[in-house]
Symmetry: C2
Subunit: 466 residues, 2 copies
């Protein structure tokens, strides 16, 4: 596994440099660093990664990674028409067998198994009978799997974050552009009921011009980080999650909070993320927890964890908004994604309770329950799809995950652009690497690369899909 | 009036430079800039500004500024034993007459009036029968009045913020050190019920080691900023408040949120504020409001207001904590000071509802109402004094303001250090100037001056006063 951290300054301007080079004479002697990764980088005008892609009659899927999230998505996919899961890949044979069982029990054809180790996904990608590689592996495998998929002519859908380093971000962009395939980041929280409703409110102008957004991942993950396979459902993640807390200090998981806010603010679609600055607290929670769970002399308690217990990031948008992101995964606290959207006409928050204040509607200085606005502003996607998720069992995420998967399949069947494309995927994911860089430099402000290379100016905002 | 903004880089290191110079030979030819402000600057070892000051038998007060806050404090002072208000100063004669009436009605001697314009406070400060100059003037007059008071041998108490520029901050420190007088910033929110209780919880270890604090001033001030004298109570502030929104972009009012958090984190008392970074949103609210109130062609609607509608500031402490400050005064929203304190054992928030989660006490993933902890953790000051504020009428701030004034007088009568001294006053106030500097430089991180020049390491944390 590769959790290689690349926070060198050269990344940020790489595409800018390449563009400059490509317009004139390609700089002799400068090319090594810049061109090491991908031949496509030297193309003067790479095509957009949102091509008109022909509609599919059915979506034939290869599923890579069938742990907790992979199984969730599989449950959803089995409920959606015109989907066939042809192949399942995991390093744990038992998980593949379990997935095969689920599929057979749903009355579908048993998919082929790929269980020959870490890179067996490559064989899966090479099949000629799949359209989409659905990637629910640990973070550090997201990019290798997506690249293999696209380079084999398949669309890629990946769990969050899409990439860990800035270099990986560029690899996704360049490969999606070169191959003309989708690279979709499956950010389920964009499809949660309240987040969808807030997007609808924003589009209807209820909040006025947006000024501020907040979001985050505030989730006591201590037990999960120290879990080992067999500890129970949702807890085998420790084996790959904990190493990130050992080695990296930044907002490691920005997309749940940032995704919905970015959609409200039309990021990459008329607006863009310009710069960020991050600040981290002491690192205490993991060591304290380990000392209690494994004893003060245990290796886990003696380990140094560089991840700050609290990381706060400020992001400036091109239009001027401020976005505040929180990452808080090693302390005792109730779960929150801290969603807040504020505009010139009002403000709405999701945690710990859903509240809203709208000038002229709410009483002076009054928070109203958001519930009062539901009938008027419920998002049509939620209205039409929530019922279809009934009976799924995914720890409270049933509906949003189902809608997310439904939308992915719908777009592929209709040949329309996906709600989130490769530019969105890498822009949101890049916050991790940029925040690591900012914290390492005492909260220096760090610029976002423009992964769209100017296309953000003319891309259309995400509409209200019915 | 002087709202002179000094954000030049030379401020920050000024005292460091002076110290270096004073230890060896005073640098010839370098002295002009550094020594321009104050002769005391060249003293090799200025004494601490928290001297043991002799107890007073009674506190004889000269009150400068009797607008809304000045009248509040006067009400409080009239309820406290061993206080005599000897003189009252304001540029508005009617306000002085009103204050005199209040005092006489309370059965006290009629104080002398000082109403000969902007700088008549100087005559007041020169009287030889007052101990304390209590300063509730507009922001830009805080430092001139405090300096005049201390230079005349009087203690100074000032409304927040104590100073507007970094240069003013240093003037307060140097003058307090030179004269051996108190310079107290009256940050009433440090004495609010919940803030006091949180401090008590922190001191009792309930939250563990602190990791994060949040605070702010989130108050729809649009009507107040555009108010003119005669518009009603609390609204004459517009005349001096609005110009700050025209000219300055930063967190103009940091102390209500930061004060209580800084006390919890022992700032200047074993810990200190190290650096900050600030980010501001668009400026929209004031223009929109003015267009509606005065018409789109009005001077107010055509005015350019540089103050961002939302300013968010991250502050790093020496111990590693992250403090998040919000300033949000030009948008429709319910009032909040966003108080949050989080440690290794739990987290407590004040707005919009008071909630707490403590590991081992609260249920997993559960917010409890803070009320459940009141009996155990109510601060003794609140317990003993809240009843004495009954019947005061100060817009909901009765108790905290009364306790604040009570503590000031108590310290002067007992000859003990005040809860907040000149170092605290300028450290908290300096956030404004530093945040202006950070925003002007695209959220560059900016270091705090160490106003204590190393004394923060050995100063004792504020205890739990009964």
């Amino acid at each position: 596994m590769n959790t290689n951290r690349d926070t060198s300054a050269s990344d940020c301007g790489r595409r800018e440099f390449l563009k400059a080079g490509a317009v004139g004479v390609l700089g002799v002697g400068l090319g090594n660093l810049a061109l090491a990764h991908s031949a496509v980088a030297a193309e003067p005008q790479p095509q957009s990664a949102s091509p008109a892609i022909r509609p599919l009659k059915s979506v034939r899927i290869g599923l890579v990674g069938v742990g907790d999230m992979g199984s969730c998505h599989l449950q959803n996919l089995l409920r959606i028409d015109n989907v066939e899961v042809r192949a399942v890949c995991d390093i744990v044979e038992g998980k593949v067998a379990q997935a095969q069982d689920m599929i057979v029990k749903a009355g579908k054809r048993k998919p082929d198994a790929y269980t020959r180790g870490d890179t067996d996904f490559k064989r899966l990608c090479e099949r000629d009978d799949i359209d989409l590689v659905y990637n629910a592996t640990p973070w550090e495998w997201h990019v290798p799997v997506c690249l293999a998929a696209m380079n084999s002519g398949k669309h890629a859908a990946t769990e969050v974050p899409a990439a860990v380093t800035l270099d990986e971000c560029w690899q996704l962009v360049e490969t999606a552009e070169k191959t003309g395939r989708h690279c979709v980041m499956m950010e389920n929280c964009c499809y949660d009921q309240t987040e969808l409703m807030i997007l609808n409110m924003v589009r209807k102008g209820l909040l006025g011009e947006l000024l501020r957004g907040e979001g985050g991942y505030l989730h006591d993950m201590r037990a999960i980080k120290f879990s080992r396979p067999g500890d129970g459902p949702w807890t085998a993640e420790g084996i790959w999650r904990l190493p990130h807390s050992v080695r990296r200090n930044g907002d490691l998981y920005p997309t749940h909070g940032l995704g919905p806010v970015a959609q409200c603010m039309n990021i990459n679609r008329g607006n863009r993320l310009v710069r960020l600055t991050s600040m981290g607290s002491q690192s205490r929670g993991l060591k304290l927890f380990a000392a209690k769970k494994f004893g003060p002399e245990s290796a886990q308690a003696k380990q140094h964890y560089v991840l700050s217990d609290v990381v706060v990031t400020l992001i400036q948008t091109h239009d001027g908004q401020v976005i505040v992101l929180n990452h808080d995964t090693s302390s005792p606290r109730p779960y929150s994604r801290n969603i807040l959207v504020q505009g010139t006409k009002g403000i709405v928050v999701k945690y710990p309770e859903e509240k809203i204040h709208i000038e002229g509607r709410s009483g002076e200085n009054e928070w109203e329950p958001l519930e009062k606005y539901r009938k008027e502003f419920e998002h049509p996607l939620w209205k039409s799809l929530a019922k279809r998720a009934e009976g799924l069992s995914q720890g409270g995420m049933e509906c949003m995950d189902f809608i997310e998967d439904y939308r992915l399949i719908q777009c592929l069947l209709e040949g329309t652009p996906t709600d989130m494309d490769v530019y969105d995927a890498v822009t949101l994911s890049a916050v991790s690497a940029l925040s690591e860089r900012s914290i390492a430099a005492n909260s220096t402000a760090v610029d976002f690369p423009d992964f769209t290379r100017g296309r953000w100016k003319n891309r259309q905002p995400l509409g209200i899909i019915s």
